[in-house]
Symmetry: D2
Subunit: 319 residues, 4 copies
Amino acid sequence: MTTPSGKNIDTVLEKSSQYRNWGKWGADDELGSINYVTEEMVVAASHLVRRGKVFSLALPLDSNGPMNGSYGRINPVHVMLQDGGDIASGAQDHLATLRYTDDAAYLVLQSSTQWDALAHIYHDGKMYNGYGTEQVHSGGALKNSITNIKDRAVGRGVLLDIARFKGKSALATSEPIEAEDLAACAEKQGVTVGEGDFVLVRTGQLEERRQSGSWGDFAGGPAPGLAISASDFFCPRHVAAVATDTWGTEVLPNETEDVFQPLHIIMLVNAGIYLGEMWDMEALAADCAQDGVYEFLLVAPPLTVTGSVGSPVNPQAIK
Amino acid sequence: MTTPSGKNIDTVLEKSSQYRNWGKWGADDELGSINYVTEEMVVAASHLVRRGKVFSLALPLDSNGPMNGSYGRINPVHVMLQDGGDIASGAQDHLATLRYTDDAAYLVLQSSTQWDALAHIYHDGKMYNGYGTEQVHSGGALKNSITNIKDRAVGRGVLLDIARFKGKSALATSEPIEAEDLAACAEKQGVTVGEGDFVLVRTGQLEERRQSGSWGDFAGGPAPGLAISASDFFCPRHVAAVATDTWGTEVLPNETEDVFQPLHIIMLVNAGIYLGEMWDMEALAADCAQDGVYEFLLVAPPLTVTGSVGSPVNPQAIK
Amino acid sequence: MTTPSGKNIDTVLEKSSQYRNWGKWGADDELGSINYVTEEMVVAASHLVRRGKVFSLALPLDSNGPMNGSYGRINPVHVMLQDGGDIASGAQDHLATLRYTDDAAYLVLQSSTQWDALAHIYHDGKMYNGYGTEQVHSGGALKNSITNIKDRAVGRGVLLDIARFKGKSALATSEPIEAEDLAACAEKQGVTVGEGDFVLVRTGQLEERRQSGSWGDFAGGPAPGLAISASDFFCPRHVAAVATDTWGTEVLPNETEDVFQPLHIIMLVNAGIYLGEMWDMEALAADCAQDGVYEFLLVAPPLTVTGSVGSPVNPQAIK
Amino acid sequence: MTTPSGKNIDTVLEKSSQYRNWGKWGADDELGSINYVTEEMVVAASHLVRRGKVFSLALPLDSNGPMNGSYGRINPVHVMLQDGGDIASGAQDHLATLRYTDDAAYLVLQSSTQWDALAHIYHDGKMYNGYGTEQVHSGGALKNSITNIKDRAVGRGVLLDIARFKGKSALATSEPIEAEDLAACAEKQGVTVGEGDFVLVRTGQLEERRQSGSWGDFAGGPAPGLAISASDFFCPRHVAAVATDTWGTEVLPNETEDVFQPLHIIMLVNAGIYLGEMWDMEALAADCAQDGVYEFLLVAPPLTVTGSVGSPVNPQAIK
C-alpha cells in the first residue's frame, strides 16, 4: 500500500531500523533517550535560569478537558470526600477544633497534558528495547513504566515555535511539520537543538481550540503535527524528549495509511524518545517571542503510579 | 482544658493571632506564604545546582501505600484500559500496525507524598485569608485550591535532617521537634533558613516503617513531628512551605487535647504556609550528609485538578 | 411569577400540603409510600404470574448510556482487573490450574435505569418526613437512603402505556401527561391502579432515542412526561412508586418556571412516593399490548450501597 | 501430585468430563445451566409465595465490607456528588426551588454479595462452552458476561441450611460439605432439589464473622465450603445455580493442592452452573427454621454492566 505521500510501512521500517537504540544502553535498559541527559547537562540547564519566571505547561484537569470518552478516555473526575458543607453542618464535630476538606480524582493518565511511557506503544509485539506484550498485563507495566523517569525529567528545554515561525497563530489542520521546518525555525530563533534536550514544538492548535470554546475533534481528529521526516531532525541530534501542544504529536491523518501514528513507532518504540502531548505552551511562547530566549530549565516529573504507561504532568519551564 | 504540656486552644489562638497573614497580600489573596518567593529567589535557587543530581521525593503510588482506608482515604487504585494481553490476543487488530497500552488511576489526592492546599484546613469556619465554608462545596474549592501554585512551587529547598542531627536513624514515636531543635540543626548543618524557603524536615519515621515492611499506624498513629513551638521558628523566618517525611507534619498525639493538629491551624490557616507530607527524603538526606550541602533547587509542581484541596506531588530536589 | 400554564410555586405548595405524608407512619419513618405495600399484596402480586415470562427493564450500563457528563453525571466506566490476555500471557501462572477474570465499575448511581431515594430531593431545606440537610453529608445519607427498600421493592406492577393509548410510537417532545390521561389509559387498558402499586408510565421517548442512534438531549432536555396534575391521580390512590422511561419523570420544560421538577417536590418529598427513571419498558409494553394483561409481579431491588441517595436497578417484571 | 484427600487434577478432569455441558444448548450458548429454568418453573416458583415476606440477601456495600484489597479487590467506595451541605451553603441556588443530592460508587463487581459470570473462570484456556481467552479483553467479556442472565435469574430457591442441619451455629473452619451432607440436609428439611433450582447453601461462616466484629481472613482464608463431591449432588440434579454465604463457595484449603478452587472448574466452567458468593442467608434461614418451609421464589437480577464478568446482586427470597 502506497499513499499519496509515497510513504508506507516500508518507510516506517526503514527509519525504525535506522534510528533504533535497542541495546545501546544495555539489554535491560528502560530509560531510552533520557540516557542522553547527563548531570552536567542538568547543571547547565539550571544555569539557564536568568529571570526566575516559571511557566506551568499543564492544562486544567477537569470535566472540560479535551477527551471525548472514546476507548475509555474520559476527562478527569474530581470528587470531594469532605467539604465545607460538612464543616458547616456539623458532620466533623467529632474532631477537636480543626476541620478539613479532602478529595480524590479518577484520572485517565493520558487524558490531558501528559507523558507517554516507553511502555505505551508497541510495534510487531515489541516495545522499546524489545520487551514483549507479556510485560504489560492488567497489573501494569513490568518494563518501561513512566516511573523510570521519576527523577530524570529534568534538563534543557528548547521551544520551537513553528506557528510563529510560519507567521500564523496556528498551523492549518493537517499541516505537517517536516525536518526542514524544525531546522529553519531553530535557526531563525537563534537556538540550537542538541543531545539530551527536551524539545517543545508549538503548533498553536491547542490555543486555537481553547479560543473557540470547544475542543471539537482535538482528541484524535485531523491536526497539524510532526511528519515522519521529523525523525531525521530529532533522532540524529539525540534529543531526550519531544512534546507538542497537540493530542497526538503527529500530523493527522498520518502520512501512512497502513500505519497509525508512524512517528511513535520510529521515535518512541525504536529510538526510545519520550513524547509529551497536550502541553500548553502559550504563555511560554509569548514570553520567548518577547525576550528572544528559547531555551530554559525544564522540570517535568511524572506521577509515580507503579506500573503506569503514561502520566499526567505539570511541566515547569523556568527561564 | 489544659494538657500536661500546658498547651491548649488558648496557645493556638495566641500563636494564630501572632502569625496571621490574612490580608497581608490583599483581601483576595490565595497564595499565602508562597508570595514570599520572588523571581530573584528562583534564579538564586537554580544556581544552587552544582552537581546535576536529581532526587525524586515521591513514594510509589500503589496499593502498598501508607493509607488504611479510614475516612475514604484508600491507597491508589491503578487500572489498565489497554494492555499487552489485548495486543497479543488481537483485540487491537482494528488499528493499523501500531498497538498501545493505556491506564487510569483513582487517587485520593492526599494518600501519599502530597501538598496540602490552603483550602485543606479550616478553623472556626474559616480557611486562610478568611474564606468561609461555602467556598469549598461538592464541586471543589472556589478559593485556595492547590492549583494556585501550579507555577509557584519552585524555589530554594533546605533540608533539616533532625534525625541525623540527633544521632538517630529515626526520632522516637511521639518525639517532638521544637523550635530550638530546628535552629540547632540548621546551625550544625551550616545552613540558614530564610524568607521564601521550602524547608524539608526529616524525622526518619518513613524509612523506619519502610524498613519494617509494614506501614502500621503511620497514617494517623503516634508519630514524631513538629511541636507547636516550631511555628516560632518558621513563621518569623517567612518560609514558603514546610514538608516532613511523616503522615501529618505534627507530633502525635498533639500537645493540645482540645485541638487536633494545632500547627495546621497556626501555620496553614493563619500564616498561609503550605505543608507537604509523606515526602521521602532518604536518598536526599544521605547525599546531603555526604557532601555537607543542605540547600538545593526544589521544584514540586502540584497536579492541576481544578478545585482540588491537595495534590500528589513528585518533588524534585536538584543539587 | 405565573407561567402560561397558570402554575407556579403556589400550586406546588398547595399540592404538597394536600398530599404530604410526613408523620403518617411515624416521626422516624424512612419508607414513605412503600409502607402501603402489605405482605398480602406481595402474595397477590406473585400470583399474577401466569406465563413465567420475565422482562428486564434495565438499560445497559456502559459508555454509550444517556449521560452527557453535566454535574459529574458521566456514563458508567467499566474496567477489567484481570482478563483473558492476562491468562494467555502467563500473568496468572502463580495460580494452580484455575484462571480467572475480574472487573470493576465506576457508577454514577443515577446515570441509567434507577431509583431515586427519598433522600434525593429537598425542598426548603427538608426531605421526606422533614429531615434536614445535615442528614446527607459527604459520608452519605443518614436518613432516607435507598437501602431502606432493599427488601421492599416488591409488589404489583401496572403498566400505563400512554404512548400506545394515544396511538403514537412516542409522545411529542414536551407533551404533558395529565391525571385524566392516566385515568383514561388505565380504563382503556382494563386495569386499575390502587394502593401499594408500582406504576410504570411509558412515553416511548426512550425507544425513540434508541432508534435514532443518539441520546441527544435525553438527559435534561425537553421531554414528554408527567404534569403536576398527575399527582391528583397517584397520590389519592396511594401508589408505592412511579417509574417512567424518561430521564426525569416530569414534562420538560416544567409547567412552573419558578420550580424545577415540581412533581418531585409534591410526590417524592411530600407524599414519599419513590420515582424510577429511565426504565426500559419496550419489550414489556409490546407483550402487554399483545396479551392485554397490564399487571405483573414487579421486583426491583436497589443495590445496598450504604448511605446512597439513588441506585441503579435491573427491574424485573414477571408475567 | 496427590494430596491427603487423594484428590488432584485427575479428579477434576474426570468430574469435568462427566458433567460437561458444552454444546448441550448449542455451540453459541452463553446461558449454561440457567437454560434448565423454564417459564413453567417461574410460574410455579411465583406460586410458592404464601406469606409475602421478602428477604434481601445482600451485604451492605461499603468500606466495612469483607475485601482486604488483594489483587485490586477493594471494598466499595461511595462518594457524594451533591449533598445536604451544598444545599445549605447555597451551592445549588442556581436551581429554581428544588434541591438535590447525588452520588456515585466505585464497585469491584465481586467485592460483596455477587454472581460469578460464566466468563469469570477459565481452565486450560477455555471458559464455559469452550470460548477462548481472546473473548475477555480489556474492553470486557464478549462471551458469557453476567448480563446474559439479566432476565433469567428468577426461579425456585431452595435453602440447604447445613449449619443448622449439623446442629451448629457455623461449620468449623475448613469443614467440607460433601454430597451426602447435602442430600441428608435436604431430606431432613423435607425439601427436594431439582432441575432449574437456585440452591442456597448456608455454612454460618458469614454470620460468625459478622458477630466477631471483624471479617478477618474471610476473603480467601481457610473456610468451610463445598467439597468436590458436591458436584455429584448438584450436577445430576440439573440445578441452575448454587450460592453460599462464604467468600468462595468451596472448602478452603481446597482438597486439591494442584488445583485452586476445583469445583469452580467442574461446576462453572464445565457444567455451566452459576455460583453466588457472600449471600447473607441469616434472616431467611431463621425464618425457614421457624416455618419449616425451605423453598421460595428467588429473584436475583445482576446489574447490566456491559461485558461484566460478575455482578453485585441484591437477591430477593420471597416466601
